[in-house]
Amino acid sequence: MAPGAWTATGIRAAVAAGDLSAREVCARCLDRIAAVDGRLHAFTTVLEDAALARAEEVDAHRGAWRDRPLLGVPVAVKDIICTRGAPTTAGSRILAGYRPPYDATVVTRLLDAGAVIVGKTNCDEFAMGSSTEHSAYGPTRNPWAPDRIPGGSSGGAAAAVAAALAPVSIATDTGGSIRQPAAFCGVVGLKPTYGRVSRYGLLAFASSLDQIGPLTRTVEDAAAVLQVLAGPDPRDATTAEEPAPAMADLLPGNVGGTRIGVPRAALAAGVDAEVLDAFNAALALLAERGAEVCDVDLPHMQYAVPVYYLVAPAEASSNLARYDGVRYGHRAALHDAAAGVPEMYARTRSEGFGAEVKRRIMLGTYALSAGYYDAYYVHAQRVRSLIRSDYDAAFAGVDAIAMPTTPTPAFRIGERIDDPLAMYLGDVFTVSSNLTGLPAISLPAGLTRARLPLGFQLIGRPFDEATLLRIGDVLERDAPWRDERPPVSA
């Protein structure tokens, strides 16, 4: 099996059958990371020894664990998800050297499924960013074009899968952080319904928006990993009782009679021509396979970005208060003995947080302050429910809503770093599914003339990831770009 063809389902089958040992798979994975990641910087930590030891454990239990759905599958975990005893930095200096004493629920579930965690992937600090340039540990490069960003905040996760450093990455999506880098790197990125996957052990950015999901090379892999991650967790009160869907029945998908809505009005301006072309080509392909494509109206979608940039920073300002230098993480050295605790807080947080995080903490603190709360936070929450109503109304007539994942392909490193507004506006198509909690997937939709990947996004009804995966499987199977690979060689 060539590394480029590696999929979770393929590896699992080979390991279960005894054709490959988990150790061999893991070693190849680590070799490839060693060979390639110096240029990409997808990983903040590679867990070589732990991964090999774990792979050997899997091999030792191969008989008993035969039915485990991710047997021997190497998985990269975004560095904002807790892995016991292994560094978990959230891309921040304030957590340099921090090793959590417990595993996130998703990590426990991956291990129970037989997976091998190979490392932690780079991200924008506390997932705040759309380019992975806001990592305290340096940017990640796009495997398709090393002078460009891989997207963010899960840039490392997307780059790792695109460059075949791991068949699966687990990441988080608060405003598009799985889907946008998936689009920019040409892989599949799934943000499940809010409440579908436990957030226990995810370092919170915006608690009402954060959701964990997979980045994979294939839709089939996304389905397999979602099944492992999904389901209620007694440690997360916001998980839904909804049992994990039985994905095995979904694939191969077909779209005969499936109604797909397109918010044409929202695509009228500000979208790159090549992005629109690719989007329309994907729609045409689905229509050819039997889908019914029609227009839908999402009148409040234009407010999604401003609403998002009030709600998310407000929650973040509170979620990040715990990084105060008292119990763990970075603590500023105080040379003045007379300096008190408030001084320690101020210095620790000034030194520990990067510019984007500080910007959002200040925005959020302001939005929650006495005298502004009603005008900003409360108002934003009201518009948020209007946006959700738009979607509910639209889903009365369609099974899924399609739009491009991003208005442009990946931009150059440094291009938007000093223009936060331009950076934020790039989230126009992704933030609304976080505000509404709806599931959404980004699927590869071909390449631009400059060979930069583009994403085709589908948004579904609550807990109806199945429809998204079914449509995605059709698109993937029949798309002319299915065998395109980034120019990264070991």
Partner: protein
């Protein structure tokens, strides 16, 4: 111009659960520092709260007992502030949609009926504890103990309906009694499981408008509450009488100095930036659940008091005292039934029994004289076998030895002289020896009879049955009054 104090209370009560409000850590007091902790109550990155169902049950119990409406849906909110013993940088509390609202507590204080309206009862988590002494490096460094972090609390907020420090202290004390009876709080103020802040202002008596309020924190006993309120009343009236103005501020009760000290001014007040807690879904309490909890409530002190008055015909004040404790109430009920005389049983419990308990620091449940034994003693006194004063000493013996009343009376020879032959000599001697008193009685001063009875008692060493002696004296004196 008379100035009256206007007082409202905010009381924090720790709920008697075995585990914390949002995690499974133990709530046991006194464990070595940081041994009852986990990622959740330490606020480690990524940890999430999950609400303890038992906490809600106990809070609903307390709310129902305070006559509150339990809300079908309430919301948790984050109260944001930085403090080293607050591990998440926010406290999970409830804000604009609390668990329960609009209750009231009515009681008697200083002979007056007091009616205190409860604004709200809400749930929240406790913070950790800063330890400034007792460790190597103390003096240079503060140590933190997070065992208390995440311990469940309810906060009870009253309207400013209290008009005296005594009434406020009574409120606090009644709440404690009630919560103990309900099993929602252990009432242990030294361990901090019941704490009180007071809002106090003064205004011309009877005025409508409230004065500028001062919040006094750190009060952990009824006595301190009364002292702190008295101090604040004096301080504020002093300021006003001197032509000054009260500034809105938070003050701290200084136990050692017996005074309140400024803590922070209104300008320094925190902006807590409350917003709904996104990690916890709205708390839904169904009508069925509330009904089931209401069903399980024990009889509360107020209801118990009413019942004792109507069922046994005892005085309200006595009933109120008995009703404060379930043990005292059932002791009384058993004694009253066995003695067939509720008022006498009540007088004994309020008198000699209560005194004995106080002097010896014994709980009524641990008293060696059970209610049936007390009833026997009461009967011996009532039927005149022994005098009331002899009965008191018999009780002391019983309490110490555990013996029955009858055996103490017999072994001590305390039975009263009821025999008219035996008493006759003593009565005759008293009549002969006190001609003035006899004359005075015959002249119409009937009150002298008591003196003469007393003389007979004295001659018999207290063993005479006073009723018999009195009848015999009347015979001789020709009274028939």
């Amino acid at each position: 111009m008379e100035l009256e104090p206007v007082i409202g209370l905010e009381i924090h009560a720790q709920l008697l659960t075995s585990t914390k409000i949002f995690c499974g850590c133990s709530t046991t007091f006194g464990a070595p520092p940081n041994t009852h902790v986990c990622p959740v109550c330490l606020g480690l990155p990524g940890a999430l709260p999950v609400l303890n169902r038992r906490v809600v049950e106990l809070a609903v119990r307390a709310s129902l007992a305070l006559g509150c409406d339990v809300q079908p849906v309430s919301l948790f909110a984050r109260k944001n502030y930085f403090y080293p013993d607050l591990p998440k940088g926010y406290q999970i509390s409830q804000y604009d949609q609390p668990l329960a609202t609009d209750g009231r507590l009515q009681y008697e204080s200083e002979g007056r009926q007091v009616d205190v309206r409860i604004i709200r009862v809400h749930l929240e988590e406790d913070a950790g504890k800063s330890l400034h002494e007792g460790f190597a490096g103390s003096g240079r460094a503060t140590h933190l103990d997070f065992n208390r972090s995440g311990v469940p609390l309810i906060e009870i907020v009253t309207h400013p309906d209290l008009r005296s420090s005594a009434a406020a202290a009574d409120f606090f004390s009644r709440l404690r009694t009630m919560f103990r009876a309900l099993g929602v709080n252990d009432g242990n103020m030294e361990e901090g499981s019941l704490r009180c802040d007071a809002n106090v202002s003064v205004r011309p008596a009877g005025a409508e408008r409230l004065g500028v309020k001062v919040e006094v924190k750190n009060i952990n006993s009824f006595r301190y509450l009364q002292h702190a309120l008295d101090y604040e009343y004096e301080r504020q009236t002093g300021v006003l009488r001197a032509g000054g103005a009260i500034t809105q501020e938070t003050r701290l009760w200084d136990v050692a100095g017996g005074r309140t000290l400024p803590m922070r001014s209104k300008e320094e007040a925190h902006d807590y930036r409350y917003f709904p807690e996104p990690d916890l879904p709205p708390l839904e309490v169904s009508a069925e659940w509330v009904a089931a909890i209401a069903e399980s409530l024990p009889e509360l002190p107020e209801a118990r008091k009413q019942r004792l008055v109507s069922e046994f015909g005892i005085a309200e004040r006595d009933a109120a005292w008995l009703a404060q404790s379930a043990d005292a109430t059932s002791y009384f009920e058993a004694a009253a039934r066995a003695a067939g005389n509720a008022k006498a049983a009540c007088n004994w419990i309020m008198g000699p029994v209560g005194r004995y308990l106080n002097e010896h620091g014994v709980e009524i449940g641990d008293l060696r004289v059970g209610p049936e034994r007390l009833a026997e003693l009461v009967a011996l006194v009532e039927e005149g076998t022994i005098s009331t004063s002899a009965g008191r000493s018999v009780f002391e013996r019983m309490a110490q030895s555990g013996a029955s009343a009858r055996s103490v009376v017999e072994s001590e020879g305390l039975a009263q002289i009821d025999d008219t032959d035996l008493l006759g000599a003593a009565v005759r001697e008293v009549v002969d020896g006190n001609p003035d008193a006899v004359a005075s009685y015959r002249g119409g001063k009937t009150g002298t009879l008591g003196f003469l009875v007393g003389q007979v008692m004295r001659r018999t060493g207290g063993k005479a049955n006073p009723r018999t002696a009195r009848a015999m004296l009347l015979d001789i004196l020709g009274g028939g009054h």
